[in-house]
Amino acid sequence: MATQTTAAPNGVVQWFEERVRATALFNALLHVPIPVEAKTYYLGGITLFLFMVQVATGTLLSLYYKPTPEAAYDSVKYITSIVEFGWLIRSIHHWAANGMIIFLLLHVIRIFVQGVYKYPRELIWVFGALLFAVTIGFGFTGYLLPWDQKAFWATTVGTEIAAAVPFIGESLLQLLRGGPDVTDATLSRFFGMHVLVLPISLALLLAAHLTVVHQLGIANPKRPEPRPGQLPTPGLVQRWKPFFPHYVLDEVIAWAILLALLVVLASVSPAGLEDKADALVTPPHVKPEWYFLAVYQLLKVVPAIGPLTARDVGILIPMLAMVVLVTLPFLDKNPEVAKRKRPVALIIAAIVLIGMGILTWYGGQIPAVAVAAS
């Protein structure tokens, strides 16, 4: 069954086949075996689906959006309240963005817990970690675009995080904002990043990520991959299941459920719009988007350690965490994948996740009034 081929006998398919000769390519792409033990929970695929939704809705939104401080707010308001289905397109874009981050996070957790980032899949993980960074960048740059009070002030305090980086913080802040403050320059910058730089980066990284996944196949979470020269465990026969159409169909079902979820969220809780951005009026509850709350809150609660100020510690921890995230397969030398054979890694991960959860919750509770005045 693994060698099953899709027949292209006659008619239109035959006509195209003669002119494109794609059958072999499709066979190579689709007919890949998956270990029967593999459990992906379709998380990566869902993230991919949400990205495609973002590309579609984002392209539509860009047809009406005007990236200048004078017009941005009004154009978003126009899209949301005047253009037919504008509310739907914008709300789906809004919710799919949040969903993308959530499912990406779940995907990372799944990969980590199953230990499938180890030999020979280190590069898949590295590309994945970079994809994570790009996705966060999407969220961060997109959040400013409506140019309302929430967007403006979340960006103000969000970019403020960058200023905490030792030595280059101030320059980094200016680089992000395109000047000392959040202004029209910031809006232009964020728009360009959001619709050009990041999509291209994401597409390239995604291509690399998926190519290597395709080349190596989906991992078996029960057993480590045998190294060259190493004999496979005797008496064990790897059983396989087909990727197409079985797995693909399951994935599509998951996508359909997600689509329904997006429609429900968009209808019940559509993307809102606060008052237009005003640099002179600080609203009472300024805080960054939820996925920045952990870092934002960390900056406030960590103590100074030795020669490092609390601010240094607060920013060095997430920076270090990002480095660890990207280089994890090279730091974690344990070849085992079974959960009980890697307790330290799992406990550390659990502590980090719970810690981030608590910080996020805490950051969401306390209205952060003072705009990083410290």
């Binding site: 308001k77 459920i257 329904a260 429609v263 209808s267 809780s269």
Partner: protein
């Protein structure tokens, strides 16, 4: 290699030149400073002497004039130049040099004077105390024949201050009024002091300070608007001190709770009235029922204009501002101000001559806030009561329509709808509502109703907008159910297809 060496040599030379020129510049600066420091000293002395002598002679002649009228000679000779002459005053002022040497309280007084607005503008000791400040002999400088009068009595003090401060020519350069003395004479304080010789009443120095007089615009001055309530209450809240005057001593406590007190003392809103805004300062007197409308109208111009159109304003002893709003205890007005919860039983004779039924008004002020209501005077069975009712119900209708619109808009916003476009109509409704409330002062139902109706109409418009948004939200949710159902069918089809595949797979 050679090139780099020449460059090094060049840099070295440049550095040396730089250091040398810096040294030269520093030297030049020191020399210049020394020269400059030496040259101004004599000239300052000269100018001090030049400006000091006429001032001194002015003082010599102004001494005797204190008891009399402000003299023309003083004007001609001793017109102090603000600031410029201040140091000269100290140089030529033997009072200052002696009294600072005595130390203690005398030193303090001298320092206070020097820092005061008088000291800074060259108004010297002798200007108030007389004597000859040019002589360093105590027998000369403090000789009563030279006009020395020591500490003026409280009655004298008012005259001492008034001598200069009522002099238009003298005060012109400072751009301050000159009517304080004249006003003081008309105040309750002044009357008691000058006619009954009551020295407990406030005189100039009690409010402005003695030697440490500050500008009224100085925020640390006791007469700065924010500080006035504390200043007045320093006597007026002192029960023992006020004993015998038969006036209350709780004004400040009451004022603190009022809208005026809150605005001034809590919000530091300088536009809010302090004691002096209503009672006057130098001419302090309680407002009377004939002046109160003007007093309140000084700020509440629009309200006064409306009140002036009212029937209340036409009546001789009719209700004034304070009849309904009180005095020190003014609170934020509301529709609750119209009626008692249960209408009081009013005796006809309270307002009417029982014989000929003509009006006999004596409503002026009510001690209790609960009595400041329409139905305290307008009997439940009267025609005017029903008119007041009409006015109230028009207002109630407008404010509930406005509130309803706000609730609907909030509900639409809660449903995630964008409601900013209702802002204009809501604001228009609010504008009319505020105007309707203000129009109550005209006591005319038609005036109030016109504004109230406009408020209702605009509120309705805003409410319709919000309702349309809510309906739209409902539509979306219904459409959502259909879409979700369709997706469910798709999922079902895919699941069935998947199951078929499993069959195939197992079979194969």
């Amino acid at each position: 290699m050679k090139r780099s060496r020449t460059r090094v040599a060049f840099l070295d030379r440049a550095f040396r030149i730089g250091v040398l020129s810096a040294c030269a510049a520093a030297l030049a600066l020191v020399v210049a400073q020394t020269v400059l420091a030496e040259s101004p000293s004599p000239s300052a002395g000269a100018s001090g002497a030049a400006s000091g002598s006429p001032a001194a002679s002015g003082k010599a002649s102004s001494g005797p004039t204190l008891s009399g009228s402000p003299s023309a000679s003083a004007l001609a000779t001793a017109t102090p130049k603000p600031g410029a002459t201040a140091p000269a005053k100290i140089d030529g002022n033997t009072c200052y040099s002696c009294h600072t040497q005595i130390g203690g309280a005398q030193h303090t007084i001298a320092d206070q004077w020097q820092a005061s607005i008088h000291g800074q503008n060259g108004i010297g000791c002798a200007d108030c105390h007389g004597g000859d400040p040019t002589s360093d002999k105590i027998t000369v400088s403090m000789d009563p024949t030279k006009g020395f009068k020591g500490v003026p009595s409280r009655q004298q003090t008012v005259g001492v201050c008034g001598t200069c401060h009522s002099d238009v020519e003298r005060m012109r350069q400072y751009q301050i009024p000159t009517d304080q003395y004249a006003k003081y004479k008309t105040s309750v304080h002044g009357q008691k002091l000058l006619l009954s010789n009551d020295t407990k009443v406030a005189i100039c120095t009690d409010c402005h300070g003695v030697h440490d007089v500050k500008k009224a615009s100085d925020p640390t001055s006791k007469v700065y608007p924010l500080n006035v309530p504390a200043l007045c209450s320093s006597c007026h809240s002192d029960q023992k001190y006020m004993d015998g005057y038969n006036i209350p001593t709780d004004q400040l406590e009451i004022y603190k709770t009022s809208v005026h007190g809150q605005a001034l003392l809590v919000n530091k809103d300088m536009r809010a009235p302090n004691c002096a805004s209503c009672h006057g300062s130098h001419d302090a007197q309680p407002p009377t029922s004939t002046t109160v409308v003007e007093v309140c109208g000084k700020c509440h111009t629009a309200t006064q204009a409306l009140y002036d159109q009212s029937r209340h304003a036409e009546l001789v002893n009719g209700p004034k501002c304070w009849t309904c709003h009180g005095t020190h205890d003014v609170v934020k007005p509301s529709e609750a101000r119209f009626f008692h919860p249960t209408p009081p039983q009013i005796d006809c004779g309270t307002c009417h001559n029982l014989a000929d039924k003509t009006l006999k008004l004596n409503a002026d002020r009510f001690q209790n806030d609960e009595d400041r209501r329409c139905d305290t005077c307008h009997h439940v069975d009267s025609l005017l009561y029903s008119q007041a009712q009409g006015i109230k119900s028009a207002l109630d209708k407008a404010s509930s329509a406005y509130d309803l619109a706000l609730t609907r808009i909030a509900a639409a916003a809660e449903a995630g709808m964008i409601v900013a476009d209702a802002d204009v109509t809501v604001t228009q409704s609010k504008t009319s509502l505020i105007q309707a409330r203000a129009a109550v002062h005209t006591t005319k139902l038609t005036e109030v109703a016109a504004k109230a109706d406009a408020a209702v109409a605009k509120a309705k418009e805003a409410q319709d907008f919000a309702d349309a948004r809510l309906a739209e939200s409902q539509n979306r949710r219904q459409a959502m159910i259909i879409v979700v159902a369709l997706i469910a069918v798709t999922i079902l089809a895919l699941v069935l297809l998947r199951r078929g595949l499993d069959h195939t797979y197992q079979a194969g």
